[in-house]
Amino acid sequence: MRLSSGTKLLLPFLAVMTVFFMAPLCIALGYSFMAPDPMGGVKPAFSLSGYQQFLYSADLDGNLQWDTRYLEIIFGSTKLAVMATLACLLIGFPMAWFMATRPAHQRDAWMILITIPFWTNLLIRTYAWILILRSNGLVNRGLLETGIIDAPLELLYNPYAVGMGLVYSYLPFMILPIYSSLERMDWRLVEAAQDLYATRLRILWHVVLPASVPGIVGGTILVFIPTIGSFLAANLLGGGRNMMLGNLIENQFGMARNWPFGAAISVLLIAFVMIGLMLIARRGQGLKGVVG
């Protein structure tokens, strides 16, 4: 078979995709159907135990019992990820709007400011929040010294701290796509709406928001997917008390030494995200006819 030159040019890309993306996924998929080796790793035998563990736990006699602990973790993580994504959207949209409405020469400066956090490792940045929020941290000391409170507040190790950590970490991923659609928006449409008796709020609703839909969709995907699988914020700011899916997966490959279960959770998470993306893509097809 002869390959066209276009296909040949694609070969390096396909090779990289295979090695870095497809291979790990295939390994995870394979491991999820094997039996755990108590020393870590897997035993090369077919087993559904990885998936079974979601809904059933085995007691000492080996009887399976209905168990909702993991479902609760899935539900809790999804809820936290949804809330964090919503919060990112609510904070990110006005920030993106602010940036997009600056004069052209100021916008680049704002872009750099937004990306500055990425110059430092996420672990260090998340750890810094502990220093800020802990009982003798910056916030509590400030409040104590100004006399607003007389005992330190318990700001860390609750779902709010985890949510805040997630919003902090992933906010730029919401701002940048929205900013990029707002920056590309045709401002003459705003003037047309003004000319046609629209108030500011209505212009926002009828013109600006529809124009920023691609950015909102992109930002939502970029924030939701990493937050639902994240474990750093839950580990550090939640103190391990608020387990998320990411922590569960990390545990199975670490302390719990149950690789098939970890792989099974990962596979389910990927499937969940893929279905979501496909639904968005289907909607996108519908939208495309509209936006052209």
């Binding site: 045709d186 003459r188 709406a193 003004q194 000319d195 046609l196 629209a198 009828h206 509209v290 936006v291």
Partner: protein
């Protein structure tokens, strides 16, 4: 007829304080009710800025804008009973044609039933009854143009502003739209302020024309006044072709320059040939001729060294380098400040 719009000494600056650009410079004019009024001028003379000042999309630095006698200079765009057909059309891409047209009325809180009826009427007026459910991206340029028109007209504004609305269209479509626009203006009896840099378009469509020159009005008048009695050489040159020669070259005992239009002169190619109307006659040599179908232009270098263009309906039996005479219609001579 009474004045719909009066602009009094309006000035608009752009740029920095050190380096200000006067886009509109102490400009005054009046537009009458039910008038097809044209702002004509070269690119950069401030036409768009003036329209945006009227629409409220820019604010004036000085001066008043009176609409039916009320100063609207302080009102925001969405409170002015004035609508614009933008040069880029600026149709909302995510709305159907019908929703685009109904947008203004819906923002004014009109009844859904009324909006539906007005939208259908507007589509009928544009002869686009079957296009209501389409999206702008599914329309041709000419159709988008008509939707933009309908979207503005449906609000029955006191003034409709059109910014170079036809310049993006190709020649044939443009001629059709010129006629269409005149029809719409007659039928709706709405005051139109039409911006163009095309003098032919301005002459053929307007009740009155304001020729703009660097943020000011060079001349305001009917097409005939502007064409036959231009007040300055700038206006005369901008509208059609105008020859200017020194008065003594024409054998006239006055100073300054005399202007005349190519069609207000006759080319005499035979010895002893007399013009139909007696007037100044000058000698020269035929330099070039160009045939345009309905008219042929003859470029003549006069014995004084000046070059003029003469138009004739006929292709005369004469060749380049021939000695000719140019006879001028005495009533049509243009005397204006330089």
């Amino acid at each position: 007829m009474s004045d719909r719009l009066v602009i009094q000494s309006v000035t608009k600056f752009f740029g920095s304080a050190q380096n200000p650009v006067r886009a509109v410079d102490d400009l005054s004019l009046n537009v009458r009710e039910n008038e097809f009024f044209t702002l004509l001028g070269p690119s950069g003379c401030g036409k768009t800025t003036l329209l945006r000042l009227i629409a409220g999309l820019e604010s004036c630095d000085t001066g008043k804008i009176l609409l039916d006698g009320v100063d609207i200079a302080g009102l925001p765009a969405n409170k002015r009973p004035v609508n614009t057909v933008f040069q880029s059309y600026a149709l909302f891409p995510h709305m159907t044609v019908a929703d685009n047209i109904g947008f203004g009325m819906s923002m004014q809180g009109k009844d859904a039933k009324d909006i539906e009826k007005a939208t259908a009427d507007a589509l009928a007026l544009m002869r686009m009854e079957n296009f209501g459910a389409r999206y702008p991206s599914e329309l041709s340029g000419g159709q988008q143009q008509r939707v933009a028109l309908a979207r503005a007209l449906v609000n029955r504004p006191k003034i409709l502003l059109l910014d170079e609305s036809l310049s993006a269209l190709d020649y044939k479509l443009r001629k059709d739209m010129q006629i269409e626009l005149k029809r719409l203006q007659r039928e709706t009896e709405i005051t139109f302020i039409f911006v163009t840099h095309d003098q032919e378009e301005a002459l053929s469509m307007s009740d009155r024309i304001a020729v703009m020159e660097r943020g000011r009005i060079g001349q305001l008048g009917t097409p005939q006044e502007i064409y036959h009695r231009p007040v300055s050489r700038y206006v005369a040159d901008f509208i059609g072709i105008c020859n200017f020669v020194a008065a003594p070259s024409l054998g006239l005992s006055e100073s300054g320059h005399i202007g005349f239009r190519p069609e207000d002169a006759t080319l005499l190619i035979r010895e002893g040939q007399q013009p139909d109307v007696a007037g100044p006659i000058v000698h020269g040599k035929l330099d070039a001729l160009s045939y345009h179908g309905a008219v042929t232009y003859y470029q003549v270098t006069l014995d004084s060294g000046e070059t003029v263009t003469v138009a004739d309906h006929e292709k005369l039996p004469v060749g380049v380098d021939a000695r000719v005479r140019v006879a001028l219609l005495p009533d049509m001579l243009i005397r204006c400040a330089s």
